[in-house]
Symmetry: C2
């Protein structure tokens, strides 16, 4: 990751029951997003209670806006509202500072 500032998009969602084509489309969206200019990284976790959090990191707001306008991504968002998600929240945030820790080997 570069030095801040950069951007984080936090997507927090509860899925509906069943797949409804979600897994394949999600894989395709990951493939498209990770190839976009300005894409920096993505982390995703879904707990046993059904709550999922995906955080993607982007160089700037322009990169986020361009990905938002991608035609396949726009269709996938519509399918998300119609089929895949019971609820979601999206936060776009400017990362102001960051740090990372990795456990020393053997510790």
């Amino acid at each position: 990751m570069p030095e801040p500032p950069y951007y984080a998009v936090v997507f927090t969602a509860v899925r509906t029951e069943g797949d409804h084509g979600y897994a394949a489309r999600n894989e395709r969206m990951m493939e498209l997003a990770t190839a976009r200019p300005g894409f920096l990284g993505i982390d995703s976790a879904r707990g046993a209670d059904g709550l999922g959090i995906t955080v993607s990191y982007w160089r700037d707001e322009e990169s986020i806006a361009a990905w938002r306008e991608d035609a396949e991504h726009t269709l996938a968002r519509a399918d998300g509202r119609e089929q895949w998600y019971a609820s979601y929240a999206l936060h776009v945030a400017r990362v102001e500072r960051a740090h990372a820790f990795t456990r020393p080997a053997g510790a």
Copy 2:
């Protein structure tokens, strides 16, 4: 949640094997954090692969700094580095826009 701007703290972590007192301390930290002035909300998910993401939301940077200086929280962070986490990353970000979706009832 209020209208932006407010702040998000994104904590992404891989746990070590075993509990080492984590569950009880995590519960205590949740109790303390949610009672802090400026605390707005928290979402947490841990996937089957061991990656966990916790996003807490705060009114301003001062609220985050004050929680960071809390004595029990400071000790818990040290225990986290010594025992609970194989690796983690922390991002502090200013939320610039947000929206939420809830599936219409019966849809």
